[in-house]
Symmetry: C2
Subunit: 127 residues, 2 copies
DNA sequence: GATAACGCTTGCATTATGCAAGTGACAAAG
DNA sequence: CTTTGTCACTTGCATAATGCAAGCGTTATC
């Protein structure tokens, strides 16, 4: 029920956008504390639900399910059949999703430069 | 009362960080739908409460007051005495805040490329 | 001194989040 | 073929954030 008709801030913002500003519209898609972390994990080669769930930030499973659904609906990610997934479906970035990597990179650079104690452990797969 | 002891997700995350990932820690600072828009406005030369409040996204005044306070506490912005402010205090980016401009720029570029109907009306002042 | 603008603050309803537990599908073990 | 376990979610519920409208104190303007 929740997963089917969640019409929260972000879903709503897609129909009634706040402004024509590209920043505002982009934030309606990934301007929260979790979406970019899931994208980060996908960029690192993670694909399975349990892999995202095992990330150190410990995303709640309901939030993860919601974000995966939004990413797919938003065209940033797509389900696929992973080679070693044991029959489970995986998720991977689409081209549109991969084009967010410069954003992720800029944020990572800023964090590394300005937040002490952060480390660049996670690096995009294939880079 | 609210403004003094709001210990929400972001304030809490500053003391108990979710992980050592620079992206996760950065998102705890500006990973919401409003903070980067205020920073965008400051980058465009806006400084007064009413100027932020007049942006097309129509941020609620309580949210704006909260974000300004967080930005100042986080060292991203600072109060100052604007020349034409009519005695009111203004807010401007610190060096740390200005270093977020590449992030803002990356997001704006992505939005312009992938969200139809967006326009680059707002441009950083002095660029 | 009255009026209005400005910079917030407050109350309250709505929405999102976090946590723990539950469910159904599937696989391997016995 | 039943049991056990894992996985991918879903659900309920408490808490926190958000949106909206109204209010409040201070400062300009008339």
């Amino acid at each position: 029920m929740r997963s089917r008709d969640t019409r929260g801030q972000q879903a709503m913002a897609r129909s009634k956008r706040r402004s024509i500003c590209p920043v505002a519209c982009a934030l309606d898609l990934f301007g929260d504390r979790w979406t970019l972390l899931v994208i980060r994990d996908m960029a690192c080669g993670k694909a399975l639900f349990k892999e995202f769930s095992a990330s150190p930030e410990r995303i709640a499973t309901n939030i993860l399910a919601d974000r995966l659904e939004r990413l797919v609906k938003g065209g940033l990610a797509e389900p696929f059949d992973p080679p070693h997934g044991g029959g489970r479906s995986g998720y991977r970035l689409t081209a549109k999703g991969r084009s967010l990597l410069p954003v992720l990179s800029a944020i990572a650079d800023w964090g590394l430069a300005h937040i002490r104690g952060t480390e660049a452990r996670l690096r995009p797969a294939g880079s």
